[in-house]
Symmetry: C2
Subunit: 307 residues, 2 copies
């Protein structure tokens, strides 16, 4: 019996979208075997339709009409990789109400509207998956949702921004200043031309919002998360820290304290011998304490092709 293919629409074809399209095209056999059905990339929605040439994709797959894609009857799964809050939020919502499963890497949308979108998904009996929104390819969201559910989580300590972790690593090891390390990161493609969301801590705060809502099973008001970046760090801070046996990391922290949960992002002194202190470069790590499982750490590369 030949099974009907699972049809995919891909919204947005930047760095990550290009990577996803390549995997869908190049790993058809592995994906079909694991999914139990062939997986077809049916539609790529992108304003700049000239990009089909770069990818070697059939021109006919391309369209610039997002609305049509999220309503198209042939589409089973919509992968949203536009980024940013709007219009991404609207497209995700429309796709879900049109009974399409949605996969997104959009941390801003999930941090601000995750609870609402998950409830829309439940109403329409479709899945909303956001594994790549925190920690890139590290299996993390799903383990929180499924494997750790019997745990009461006490605390989460996480390095979730590869850009700032790379900069802090360079500052610590090479004794250079923030601005020099930032330029190196930009040169290597680890920091964007406008790095403010990363170095200012906002990106980490989005991710902490998502982790907090999952870990503590609560609706998080994103505006209540305190965040502070790394741009004020000086080279000498690392020298002093090291003398006293500490490393400096930008940590996203969520902790239960009595009936409340505190959530904050800022640079933290951590013992040099701890595992989190050894997480260098663009790597991410998420340290979780649960009542049954004890301490668990997930480690790997963050989002993007190289960060």
């Amino acid at each position: 019996m030949k099974k009907r293919a699972i049809n995919i629409a891909l919204l947005g074809i930047g760095t990550i979208g290009t990577g996803v399209a390549k995997v869908l095209m190049n790993k058809t056999k592995t994906l079909a075997r694991q999914a139990g059905s062939p997986i077809d990339l049916k539609l790529v929605v992108e304003k700049d339709t000239s990009r089909y040439g770069v990818l070697g994709l059939d021109k006919k797959l391309f369209t610039d009409d997002y609305e049509k894609a999220v309503k198209n009857k042939d589409i089973d799964i919509v992968i949203e990789l536009i980024g940013g809050e709007y219009p991404a939020y609207d497209f995700i919502k429309k796709a879900l109400t049109n009974e399409k499963h949605v996969v997104t890497a959009n941390k801003e949308v999930m941090a601000k509207h995750g609870a609402r979108l998950l409830s829309i998904a439940r109403e329409h009996h479709v899945g909303l998956r956001f594994e790549a929104s925190v920690g890139g390819g590290i299996p993390l969201i799903a383990p929180f949702q499924r494997d750790l559910v019997a745990n009461d989580i006490q605390a989460i300590y996480a390095i979730v921004n590869g850009t700032t972790n790379y900069i802090l690593t360079r500052m610590a090891h090479d004794h250079i200043d923030f601005s020099v390390a930032l330029k190196q990161a930009q040169k290597l493609g680890y920091a964007e031309a406008n790095p403010s969301n990363d170095v200012g801590g906002l990106d980490a705060a989005y991710k902490l919002g998502i982790l907090t809502s999952l870990g503590f099973d609560m609706a998080v008001n994103f505006n209540q998360i305190y965040y502070e970046g790394i741009s004020k760090m000086k080279s000498k801070d690392f020298r002093y820290a090291s003398e006293f046996g500490y490393a400096i990391k930008l940590l996203a922290i969520a902790k239960r304290s009595n009936d409340l949960v505190e959530a904050r992002v800022h640079p933290v002194l951590i013992p040099a011998e701890s595992l989190l202190a050894k997480v260098d470069g663009v790597y991410n790590a998420i340290y979780v304490t649960g009542d049954l499982v004890g301490n668990v750490l997930f480690y790997g590369q963050g989002a993007g092709r190289s960060i």
Copy 2:
């Protein structure tokens, strides 16, 4: 609408079984909320039925008849925690053919008969879960089965035996001999009175068999896994290793090499700066390299209440 409860039969009530029974009794609300139905411990099968007193469980829940439990029509899920190959294998098989979901922590059965049992489970449209068979509570098996399936795994390097890792840590840090460290481990409950399965590498080899079959999507003949333990290690080995910048760990290694996969367990010199070298005491860690995800590490406490 009140949902029917999910009824559980627990086979074997040793250290781990006791822990599971306590969670089922003490976390009813969390479990019911997450599962969507109440979860009832209906039956505890144990030869020594006097143990109900220790647990504060209703005497009526206890039986010594394994056969009946795996055929009982009211039971939805069988949790097998007897351990060892037989009769555990037979009970798991019977439970599956009687259309019960099975949860097991049995690494020996899964390493030797996993492929066959998983295919029986598929035939009868029930689930066979073995998350706790490797790495205790660390979410690991499920991420392999679900979240990393698009990856071609290139290599797995794993510390999967808490007993030997504790002994090696003590030998390295306290400059003591194997026999002294083993005695300490036994005193703390980290090693059994007969520690041969752990210190001889067999326990790690079972777990490697399971990881290899999952990671490389293949049926593994357990007898082809090479394993070697740590009882020949001397205190001076650690001194020399440290002088050259290395740590010594008992690693379970599975690697693709051309069309073959090699799988072996033995003590390994690893660079002191690597993350695996920092995994001390009874902790476990599994380092995986995949073509899409790059390097990922899972870290946490191994099986048992404390190991």
